[in-house]
């Protein structure tokens, strides 16, 4: 027996066993039970098959359009902010004229050390709806006018959520782009130089195409982060429901129905649709970056 376990044929399976066991127990089972539950009515007393009833209820739920709208707008805005700007900042940090770039990189990284709980709390109070809060007092001093009720109105609330995302993720995205930039051979820039390309042309025709893998990666994790956003809004509104659902996200919808109200069927149907969206985005990403075929070497 002992010899068998120690054989080179059996050993690799023992090595990957922990992953396989946990994968089956938590992921395969979870996905399977989400699928099953999405066709069931699940109560404490009884569980029974209801066909497409959950999906019908889902699409007639009045909260759902708000959740979809908020999640989509949030995701699109974070993409618009968290890809071009970090890329530009990385190029600037990498420029030869820059000094002490390590120091600035460190400072830009700091927000990531903060838990979402502390970050959300801090933003809640920085964007407090009083004249004296940090953001309102700056705006009133610069532009005059009245205080903004950040967490009560739809667009101001969206600005707060996107600002929070920018604060947390700009630094790490810069670091992704810096590591992408460092993998571009210097010779290519020298060749451009000889061909007489100016700074913009170098950026447009050399840097951006060479950064394509990094851009695809950052794009994917940003979509993923945008679609999965929940705790930020939970903290900004201190665990309460936001007025008129202005902070309700898709995962917030799953949480509200599933965990808070015990409507597991409905929540599972929502989760499943989101899961399908996320997985197809990832498959497209893998195809684009060519990772799928590369596992064999």
């Amino acid at each position: 027996m002992k010899r068998k376990i120690n054989s080179q044929k059996v050993a690799p399976y023992i090595f990957v066993l922990p992953f396989v066991v946990l994968f089956i127990t938590f992921f395969v089972y979870s996905i399977g039970s989400t699928i099953v539950m999405s066709f069931q009515s699940v109560n404490i007393q009884d569980v029974h098959f209801v066909g497409l009833e959950n999906y019908r209820m889902l699409f007639s739920n009045s909260d759902l359009p708000d959740a979809i709208r908020n999640t989509l707008v949030y995701t699109l805005l974070t993409l618009a902010m968290l890809i071009p700007f970090p890329m530009l900042f990385a190029v600037m940090l990498n420029s030869k004229s820059m000094r002490a770039s390590g120091f600035y990189r460190g400072v830009l990284f700091l927000p990531l050390l903060c838990s979402v709980v502390v970050a959300g709390l801090t933003f809640r109070f920085m964007f407090n709806e009083t004249n004296a809060s940090l953001v309102n007092s700056v705006i009133i001093n610069l532009f005059g006018g009245d205080k903004i009720r950040w967490l009560s109105l739809q667009w101001p609330a969206m600005i707060v959520m996107v600002t929070l995302a920018c604060w947390r993720w700009t630094g790490i995205n810069i670091i992704y782009f810096l590591s992408g930039l460092n993998s571009i051979p210097v010779e290519l820039y020298e060749a451009c130089e000889i061909d007489g390309a100016n700074t913009w042309q170098r950026f447009r025709y050399l840097t951006i195409p060479m950064l394509k893998p990094t851009i695809i990666y950052v794009l994917t994790i940003s979509i993923y982060g945008g679609l999965a956003m929940f705790v930020e809004s939970q903290m900004l509104w201190a665990g309460k429901a936001s007025p008129n659902n202005i902070g309700l996200t898709m995962v917030g919808f799953v949480y509200k129905n599933g965990i808070s109200q015990g409507r597991f069927g409905l929540a599972s149907a929502t989760g499943l649709i989101l899961l399908a969206v996320v997985l197809s985005i990832n498959l497209v990403q893998l195809k684009l970056s060519g990772s799928l075929g590369k596992e064999n070497h």
């Binding site: 396989v20 420029s95 700091l110 927000p111 050390l113 838990s115 970050a119 009083t130």
Partner: protein, 288 residues
């Protein structure tokens, strides 16, 4: 010599660029630090001011007080340091176990050829792609069924073989020559002995980078522990702090000073091992 074009330009122009860049990033660094500055300043103000003013940068000697920290460190009836201890315990245990198990799995992928390897590896990638938030519901029910609520094992179990760590260790180990395995076999090591005695010592830098990544996510983890833990005695810092900001009233006295102190351990770690932090956090992008 990175970008030779600069040498063609006049030195004066370059100096202006340097000044502009430094000015730009200093301004940006200041904006990034504003939330930290405002919460630290507020932690020295009377907590009743928070309701009236939120956070701001006003410094006023007449409102300066150490009351919040006094209450936190010596005062009364709160469980903050219990949560702090829980967080440290959970972070250390989770990091050590996750690193060991993920390295164990990663070694299997990097050093062996076996049937089903590619398929299992695609499963690792799939786990990497699914946001936890989308599976929290069935996993939560599963943990209840396994009677692991209020148990740190319930928090650690689903990601004990962490896909990102497995991926990273596999990548790292692929650059190590396979001869080490043969040498171990000749010396009479078992297959597992090779991993424990020969491979693990070489993995130190990889462990350092991943320890920081796993440790940081574990220290700050919120959603899953919040579902698993129901007893306030078991709470970790993020859960405890968020419970102070409840729908039924807020405990600002403890909340603000407690939040500031909760960031301190990671700050200390960051400034002593910045290189590993940045390496650990950017590992995700090296895939493919």
């Amino acid at each position: 010599m990175l970008r030779t074009h600069n040498s063609i330009r006049k030195p004066g122009e370059r100096r202006i660029n340097t000044v502009l860049l430094i000015l730009f990033f200093t301004a940006m660094a200041f904006i990034m630090l504003l939330p930290f500055i405002s919460i630290v300043l507020t932690s020295f103000k009377d907590s009743s001011l928070i309701i009236r003013n939120g956070f701001n940068l006003r410094i006023d000697a007449s409102t300066f007080t150490l009351e919040n920290y006094k209450y936190l460190f010596t005062g009364g009836d709160h469980e903050y340091f219990r949560w702090f201890g829980n967080s440290i315990f959970l972070t250390v245990v989770q990091t050590v176990l996750t690193l060991f198990i993920s390295a164990w799995v990663g070694y299997g992928f990097a050093f062996y050829e076996f049937k089903g390897k590619n398929f299992i590896f695609v499963c690792v990638l799939i786990v990497m792609m699914i946001p936890f938030e989308l599976l929290m519901l069935p996993m939560y029910r599963e943990i209840i069924a396994m009677k692991l609520t209020n148990n740190y094992l319930g928090i650690m179990l689903p990601y004990l073989a962490h896909p990102i760590a497995i991926f990273f260790f596999r990548q790292f180990l692929q650059s190590i020559p396979k001869e080490i395995q043969d040498a171990g076999r000749i010396d009479g090591c078992s297959e597992y002995g090779i991993f424990l005695r020969l491979i693990m010592p070489i993995m130190k830098p990889a462990f350092a980078a991943m320890a920081i990544y796993i440790g940081m996510t574990s220290w700050n983890n919120f959603l899953w522990p919040m579902l698993v833990l129901t007893d306030t005695k078991m709470f970790t810092l993020p859960i405890g702090l968020s419970s102070l900001l409840g729908p039924y009233g807020n405990n600002y006295l403890l909340l603000i000073s407690g939040s500031v102190i909760s960031v301190v351990p990671l700050m200390i770690l960051f400034f002593s091992a910045q290189k590993y932090f940045i390496e650990g956090m950017s590992t995700g992008s090296v895939k493919g």
